[in-house]
């Protein structure tokens, strides 16, 4: 049994009718690390999580989680993983405490041990005050914390989180991040999917950029950022000046500029770390381009995608 990787997948394929959701996805998550799977909607993130958590059988390829095959040893895999989906899938009619007791019982923490573990988890996740209220009265952040608490009851070896902070306000997101960090610090391997570069940056040891159902780029957050560099964007006074701005920006950044006619903006990935904003403005000014606004900033996820995958993000 391979003990180096908590998650190891090789050339996973999955089709849904005409949609080729996964086209040979390779993943390797070392034990005890946090892996951020980053990608736009439709990139295959959720399908990947479903295959790895035994909810879907792959059409081709192999995957092992905690050393067990997700198809042939599905029952063993389920025993050592925790999963939260994009939506919190708790029983809305039951209280937080009842939900946790149910999940404890289903996790073979029976009787007094299960009740004690459920109560302990309510305290850990700051849900004591709301413990006996039905879940349908909970806020999004509280649901998410309860969901995570349910997953962590039995201290899983590998935790799968599908967009754990989507739809949460910044404060709630911060609390969820704290929980994920704590689980990771206790030795749980975490695989989380996200649409937010910042989230992956905050939590992940390694990032896998997935696109069209395969891993497009893999690396630490620092490596990925270095590869993308920063993003230069200028806004010009009128439509006629767009082409002129592109002519200047192209050679400066060494990348193909992208024109946004509706915003009168021209942008390009700037790979050279020595490029400065004053230099961009000076060169544009010298070329007689009427610049209204200019920025040199970290790229957004959309821009990362445009730069690394040559396609419009499907967000």
């Amino acid at each position: 049994m391979d003990t180096t990787y908590a998650v190891l997948s090789e050339r996973i394929e999955k089709r849904f009718g005409d949609i080729h959701a996964l086209r040979g996805l390779d993943l390797a998550v070392p034990r005890g690390t946090v892996c951020g799977v980053l990608g736009p909607n439709g990139a295959g993130k959720t399908t990947a999580v479903r295959v790895l958590t035994t909810l879907l059988e792959p059409d081709a390829g192999h995957a092992r989680v905690a050393g067990r095959d997700v198809v042939r040893e599905a029952a063993e895999v389920r025993r050592v993983i925790g999963v939260t989906g994009q939506r919190t899938s708790l029983d809305e009619d039951l209280s937080g405490r009842e939900n946790l007791r149910l999940f404890a019982a289903l996790r073979r923490l029976r009787g007094g041990a299960g009740r004690a573990r459920a109560d302990e988890a309510l305290g850990e996740f700051g849900l004591e005050d709301a413990a006996d209220r039905p879940v349908r009265t909970y806020s999004g952040g509280m649901r998410r914390r309860l969901d995570l608490a349910a997953c962590l009851l039995a201290r899983p070896e590998v935790l799968f989180l599908d967009e754990p902070s989507t739809g949460l306000d910044p404060a709630a997101r911060g609390r969820v991040w704290e929980t994920i960090r704590k689980a990771a610090a206790e030795g749980t391997t975490v695989l989380l999917t996200t649409q937010y570069l910042e989230e992956a940056d905050q939590l992940a040891d390694d990032i896998v950029l997935i696109d069209h159902g395969r891993a497009a780029h893999t690396g630490t957050p620092a490596e990925l950022k270095a590869r993308i560099g920063s993003y230069a964007e200028v806004v010009v006074a009128d439509r006629a000046a767009l082409a002129g701005a592109a002519v200047v920006l192209g050679p400066l950044t060494g990348a193909e500029p992208v024109l946004d006619e509706s915003r009168l903006a021209v942008g390009a990935v700037a790979a050279d770390p020595a490029l400065t904003l004053p230099r961009i403005v000076r060169e544009l000014d010298a070329a007689g381009v009427p610049v209204v606004d200019a920025a040199l900033r970290p790229p957004t996820l959309d821009e990362v995608f445009l730069a690394l995958t040559d396609r419009e993000p499907a967000v």
């Binding site: 909810l55 989906g85 009619d93 149910l102 029976r110 039905p134």
Partner: protein, 267 residues
């Protein structure tokens, strides 16, 4: 493994019982339905329908309403499974190291327990409108057992259909069509007076077998009515027919429901 299976089933049944306790309103509505049907059919139609031999129409339909209520496991099972499927609860349960059969089984058992409790006020209302248990205690208990078997059977069918449609709205639509199954049974109207083809449909409707068996076991059958000359086999052997129907339906729908649950994915 087998103790795990039982404990998982008990945990799932406990979940449904707790939900019922949290939603007493829903139970009240479910309970009110057969009472309204009893009033409607018993007093609106009952005043105009004359049964052969001068038998009382209200007494005739009370066991029919027991059967109709028991068959409501179809609707309850469907709505519960559809809601759990849409909200991702079933997928969540599938990611746990628990028995696949325990989820529908626990739900069906909880439903049977709730129905057993709900039968008590229903019997009381039956008594209030003049219906009586005419058979011995053993037969009356057998009648109750048969009704609970019907509930158990329909709960499995409902679970399967609920997962198949996957949304509460669609399940609600489908649930309303089950009323046709009631109308095409002998719960409210004896089959004997119907045109030939319709009589055949009604007499072979499984619900008619349970209804007739309930009448027979409670001792409230009117001789020569449900088993009138030319009646189909299920009408002349209603208890055997009901047991057979349950055996066949469970043999088909238990594996179907378990298999569908094991493969279902939330949308």
């Amino acid at each position: 493994m087998s103790t795990d299976f039982l404990l998982d089933s008990r945990a799932m049944a406990g979940r449904q019982l707790r939900r019922a306790r949290r939603n007493p309103g829903l139970i009240a509505v479910t309970q009110a339905m057969p009472l309204m049907l009893l009033l409607f059919f018993g007093y609106v139609f009952g005043s105009t329908v004359a049964l052969p031999g001068g038998a009382d129409y209200r007494t005739y339909i009370v066991p029919g309403l027991f059967a109709v209520t028991a068959a409501g496991g179809l609707v309850t099972g469907m709505l519960t499974a559809a809601a759990d499927s849409r909200r991702g609860v079933l997928e969540r349960l599938r990611s746990l190291p628990m028995s696949r059969t325990a989820v529908p089984l626990g739900q069906a058992c909880a439903d049977v327990l709730l129905t057993a409790v709900g039968l008590v006020p229903l019997l009381a209302v039956g008594y209030a409108v003049g219906w009586r248990i005419e058979a011995g205690a053993a037969f009356a208990l057998a009648a109750a057992g048969l009704l609970l078997l019907l509930r158990f059977t329909t709960a499995w069918i409902g679970f399967h259909l609920g997962m198949a449609v996957g949304s509460e709205e669609a399940a609600g639509q489908l649930a309303s069509t089950t009323f046709v199954l009631q109308l095409l049974s002998n719960a409210y109207v004896p089959a004997a007076g119907l045109p030939g083809w319709l009589r055949t449909v009604v007499e072979w409707n499984p619900l008619s077998a349970y209804t007739t068996a309930t009448r027979e076991l409670f001792g409230s059958a009117v001789p020569g009515l449900d088993d009138a000359a030319g009646a189909a086999w299920p009408m002349t052997h209603p208890v055997a027919a009901s047991l057979l129907w349950s055996a066949v339906l469970l043999a088909v729908f238990v594996p179907l429901a378990v298999r569908r649950y094991a493969r279902t994915t939330a949308r």
